[in-house]
Subunit: 486 residues, 4 copies
Amino acid sequence: MDLFGTAGIRGSVEDRVTPELALTVGRAVAAEIRDRTDDPTGRDPASPASEVVLARDGRVSGGAIAAAMESGLAAGGVDVRRAGQLPTPGLAYATRGRYGVMLTASHNPPTDNGIKCFRDGVEFSDELEAAIESRVADEPTRAPWDEWTEADRIEPLAGYLRAVRDYAGTFGADLDGLRIAVDCGNGMAAPATPRVLRELGATVVTLNGNVDGHFPGRGSKPTSETLRDLRAFIADANEDVPDPGRPTADGDAEGFAFGIGHDGDADRIVIIDDDGEVVHEDTVLAVLAEAYVRRSDADDPVVVTTPNASGRIDERVRAAGGRVDRVRLGALHEGIAAVQAAASEASGKTDVAFAAEPWKHVHVPFGGWIDGVCSAAVIARLVADEGLAALREPVTERPYRKVSVTCPDDRKEPAMTRLETVLPEAFPDADVDTDHGVRLEFPDASWTLVRPSGTEEYVRIYAESDAVDDLVADVRGVVEDVIEGT
Amino acid sequence: MDLFGTAGIRGSVEDRVTPELALTVGRAVAAEIRDRTDDPTGRDPASPASEVVLARDGRVSGGAIAAAMESGLAAGGVDVRRAGQLPTPGLAYATRGRYGVMLTASHNPPTDNGIKCFRDGVEFSDELEAAIESRVADEPTRAPWDEWTEADRIEPLAGYLRAVRDYAGTFGADLDGLRIAVDCGNGMAAPATPRVLRELGATVVTLNGNVDGHFPGRGSKPTSETLRDLRAFIADANEDVPDPGRPTADGDAEGFAFGIGHDGDADRIVIIDDDGEVVHEDTVLAVLAEAYVRRSDADDPVVVTTPNASGRIDERVRAAGGRVDRVRLGALHEGIAAVQAAASEASGKTDVAFAAEPWKHVHVPFGGWIDGVCSAAVIARLVADEGLAALREPVTERPYRKVSVTCPDDRKEPAMTRLETVLPEAFPDADVDTDHGVRLEFPDASWTLVRPSGTEEYVRIYAESDAVDDLVADVRGVVEDVIEGT
Amino acid sequence: MDLFGTAGIRGSVEDRVTPELALTVGRAVAAEIRDRTDDPTGRDPASPASEVVLARDGRVSGGAIAAAMESGLAAGGVDVRRAGQLPTPGLAYATRGRYGVMLTASHNPPTDNGIKCFRDGVEFSDELEAAIESRVADEPTRAPWDEWTEADRIEPLAGYLRAVRDYAGTFGADLDGLRIAVDCGNGMAAPATPRVLRELGATVVTLNGNVDGHFPGRGSKPTSETLRDLRAFIADANEDVPDPGRPTADGDAEGFAFGIGHDGDADRIVIIDDDGEVVHEDTVLAVLAEAYVRRSDADDPVVVTTPNASGRIDERVRAAGGRVDRVRLGALHEGIAAVQAAASEASGKTDVAFAAEPWKHVHVPFGGWIDGVCSAAVIARLVADEGLAALREPVTERPYRKVSVTCPDDRKEPAMTRLETVLPEAFPDADVDTDHGVRLEFPDASWTLVRPSGTEEYVRIYAESDAVDDLVADVRGVVEDVIEGT
Amino acid sequence: MDLFGTAGIRGSVEDRVTPELALTVGRAVAAEIRDRTDDPTGRDPASPASEVVLARDGRVSGGAIAAAMESGLAAGGVDVRRAGQLPTPGLAYATRGRYGVMLTASHNPPTDNGIKCFRDGVEFSDELEAAIESRVADEPTRAPWDEWTEADRIEPLAGYLRAVRDYAGTFGADLDGLRIAVDCGNGMAAPATPRVLRELGATVVTLNGNVDGHFPGRGSKPTSETLRDLRAFIADANEDVPDPGRPTADGDAEGFAFGIGHDGDADRIVIIDDDGEVVHEDTVLAVLAEAYVRRSDADDPVVVTTPNASGRIDERVRAAGGRVDRVRLGALHEGIAAVQAAASEASGKTDVAFAAEPWKHVHVPFGGWIDGVCSAAVIARLVADEGLAALREPVTERPYRKVSVTCPDDRKEPAMTRLETVLPEAFPDADVDTDHGVRLEFPDASWTLVRPSGTEEYVRIYAESDAVDDLVADVRGVVEDVIEGT
């Protein structure tokens, strides 16, 4: 059984992520934790306590799935702390020093649910997921009846929000009446982002701020299309307003300085500018990366990101005196750990300033999880200080393409091996990186990435350049030749 | 001490509705209930059980005030059921067969809070309020220590919402994808109205659907001004949409069929049409009144309302075969009781079809409290059936004025006595009603009401007429003459 | 699968009553309720609302099993009210007008748990249990995702205890300082019986009054052996005390008027006299039956009991002017229903005064469930009035025997058929009842019952008589002859 | 106003510790905490977070007083964590790193309640109490409305019990079926001590193990008199049992190895031996003190106690290689802090091995609060290892007297000054300590203490000696002479 995908366990509650599955996974997680816990009291700071914080997003199935998961964990013999409904980053925060399970299908449709496991603030590693998977396949051993536990109740939301607020308060400037529109998408951002922004001083108007597991207001994945109500709302409100969203000498702000859209569990964020247009996710990433590198006091500040992220990030990080390290998709936390391990051998000082995939930001000094609520707060403070336009201004947004070239599965490996030689030869002025596919970076900050699809019979070409179509055509020629010749 | 105003006890939590006051009132309410309860078990259906459901709206001070009230009630020796945050009509529903206390300052600013008491679904009568007031003044007697109680927790929201849904389902037609925008004003409508409408089949987009006691999104009182975001949102969305808010043969609805605005505790409702304009509160009242009279199977269906409510109500009620009964402001429940008492002597059949003040609707067959959530659901079903334009069409909206004429307090009474004679003489073709001021009703459904202000040195003139300025001028002349001559 | 035994579903949580089973049964119960509920709102008093109150006793596995059951019910689409830990009669009380599930293995060892289902205060009928069983076997259909529910929390214990107190208060006399020792056996009697007795005025000392699912203090089934600590405690305390447990003119009581022992979920009760000896369960039954018949105002008051219950009950019931009706073991509620149905056809007046098996009492005017807490309260009031010795005095306690005669399964039916003729012939002066085996009742109130075992290869002979060994010998002779001859 | 006594704030809930007082004190505590908190996040380990854990014992008034306290704290602007019912040491444990308020009147009658404040596991110092007192007198300033908070719920009991179990597990031997009788006195020991002992392996039978704020089973203060049921229960059970409470080769234990009595909030403990007799509180203290000094690895292990504690403690501490430090009554935590401060200047190693007043034990390596649950667990492990008789054997129990000599208030100070010179002269072979009165210690471990009463017109003489009456007579002679001569 192939239980965990790149986003944990996820699927329909009627036939995949059922209560039965949650019960089984709960018992497997409990068994694994019990085996791994050297110091069950958790007093050894290197060993998380063998207790599990259990939370869920606002889905209709959340109550039933959470009860089944609680049963599995309790019958598996670990202590359970029921935390009710939380944003995923709120659950992650609450797992520091212990374990956690988050029941969410992120931005999937309301028919679905999912299971994400955390250890000390970080998602389970591949190795831990494999261990769970094998236990589920083997029918997890039951704990003897007298080691079954009884769940407690905790309410960690307020503490998390306070921590976000305190942390973001070290960036930029006071919000001081800045007017912001937030589309919570009927998800778990609703009790989180608007409150943090308000406590930081903003005036917040929300769309879809009521939690509803049917996602009645819009699709749960925040895209230009699903956020069209928010975009129209901002664009219309800002018409003819000189400095939208800023309080004037005479009184309150009119219009909105910017907008925010979240997915169902608030790990993901989209930023809308004051014209109602989506700010490109790589640009948001570049702005945050630059800000983090500038405030870092490390000798060698690093930003960890993924191969599909734009060269504009590298430009801004370099300009700020740092460097970019790329890891494969979905492996940010492993990249962070690798850099930190290397750094601590050298100086004992953490060198990772920031880590992110497009839409998903790990605020490393705050914690090792993806946190859209924290992004909202940090970005708002930066906007209050400089304005969104000024933040974007240094970022060069070049045209971007993503193209698929047909390639049978059995030819993928030989073709990629061959492309590692052929592509650098074809583009001799490019820097080459072959860690995750073949990535070429040109002196003018253009770049292209060639990598095989993990699920379909394609090789993908990503490219970003002022002359992107020419670049893609050139690369495609090389790639097709190699595939044919394999 | 003048504790209760027309809206219960209300004021700033820093110097009026403090925790200390809540504690004292709690003990007074407990003492009064204990004295009044013949059958403490509540098995006698005529005698509510001596238990109190305690709820509050989403105000920042709600937690502290509720804890103080709980302490007062518990030390006063009545059973307390803590119900957490609820809309006021949800609390009222939960008090059937027992007592209740709702902590809300309705649409007052966030600095305030308030106390409303319920008995078997209905707000305390004047007599009960006077009894509480006198006990508070006298320092309420403490219950002996061994009669102190310990509060339980209940969660009545889901049951209330289900009851609203089932009740509203008997009106109009299925919502079936009708698109509705709801501005919850960061208040207690948020967990209620959108969910009921969605369960009835609507597609709901919310503004300010996150509960926040600072009311960051807009002023809590729903007016044309505070609802300007909602109005712009609807107007912009509906531009160039042929039948806004209705699903088409090809797919989902675009735009919104109508909009809803609530106050902080969801007893009050404002309706926005598909042009983004506020529908006049008397028109909403007339539409509901007509619908209720038409579905009544009473021989003599009555609508109870207040003197300031428009003649357009009388027109529609009459057209539907019913009659209007007016009671003084804030006394709807006493009016209902009076009509019901009379009716039950005659036939044993309830004759009150509906009761309302502008913005505040008592859905009598559902229960004896003001219920904005129920109004939202009933109106949505009526709109789904006929369309908002068709519902409004038969209602004649005449121009309306409200004018104040200076009158020293000591002259108010003699002046009013004299006007009871003089006004009918001056307008011989009008029907006269002198129960609550002097109200004249003309053959063309024009009307005017003259009554003294309860708090300021004025006599007020209300008038509604196609020639309203002429009518006001005429009445004002008579009134000024009488005041001068007194 | 043979799911339900005579005591519901019961067994080890490690391999029989597992979380998986609880989940499956939960979904089956939900499906059955949804099919049966004509009026899901429960407004029709004849149709319980489709909501389920879920409670459990204090077993270690209770948390995990309850969570799994909650998941099954919620995913099955019925509303769930989580009531936490309760005595079984407290759960039964809370199910009036709705459904309920109690998780308890009564007095089984701590390794076990069990499932009991209730409908409107009464355990599921055989027909309902069969329906659940067949659904479990068929894998119960899942409810569609959007009909899954979210459990609420309720706290019904205080209301139940108040109701018991009010009800018992109509019997006997004020407790007024009467001193009573209660051994709660670390079970769910702990938060119930001592409090009710204290509120009725007793001075209560408890043994094993802390709830602990390991049952550390004593075996959970209350017997003369497991109650030896309680018995010694009472006997020692009462040594040389003239009127033990009664306050004197000078001051507080010394010693104990009597003692009470409960099983793990407080449906069962054992009474200890002031010498520390167990009062025979049939005597307790006879005392209660007589009291109930005496206070009944029915023309024909009936006590429902089982064939294994002693003739001393019949004697006391007859002396009080009533009659006894016997039904098969475990079927008290069906017996009550049958008598009530017959009675209501005749006069509309309930004629069942009381119903009981040994140790298990249904206080019919209070409700249709077995209630040991109510028995404790009623008996205490009767003792306060008359003293335990006086209550027992009229009850004749004859010697009792239970004997097993080997009989192959295939001969049971023909043998019993034949005994229906042969036994009456052999004992011509006895009254004969062949409804549940063959029961002979003699003019001197001696009786014997012959019935086949349901689970073993025996025919059982029960007998009670001043010359019990002679009677058994005579009956055994007849029975053995018949078995051999079959 | 003289708010705090030696045991915090305590008195009748009807006229002293009322909900009104709790509300006022809550606001005062909040104001004080806000002023003192340098780092409101509590990240600085030297500065507790500005949050308050609120708990209460099982008193009838607990719900109402706790709600009032919650209201005061929340309106005072500090975060509140409601912890429900807890033993006082459980609350203390939960306050590590933050603040706490415990509502208990310890062993006072049920009419009373009280308030105890904690900071980081230790009761408020005199200075902090004085600050609260002065704020209460001045009417504490209200926090602005937008800094009011909303209480969360936490359930810290299980974590505390686990910590006690783990800690006690480092003493003595496994309990392994040792049979122990515990009289919980209907107080907060009920959910704590029996469970910890059972988890450590004991077989526990409880008396009065149901929590009931009326204390029906016995007076709440554990004395030889109030524990007479427990004492008789043990004595009777152990009659003719060779090694009571110990499992034999053949099977389970009979009788009880020892007994435990607690007060209402479980900070205090009394030990009963296997004859049913109370073990003298100073002997218990000496046994624990010796055990703690023996396991200490400090160079200079110190036991902190009070002047009224017996010389037998000094004997056992000295025998184990430690020394005793005496501080005034009720000031154990200040004594601990002083020794620790001195020690940390020298070596950085904590030198306080143990601290105690009679009945009240501070297990310093576990935490800085009085903890009767921890004492129960530690003593049980020691008894399992050596037997109670063996533990007591080395402790010499000399006769003890406490005598009062009349002395007007104005003569107390000069008399005591003079006695500091005269007494040493009169008893030249004694060691003298004049820190808290005049204490003389003789070579044979006899001792006497002379100190003025704080509340009455007496000078008190305490003495312990094999010839105690002679010693008292001698000392009294000196004291009376001095008083007369002053």
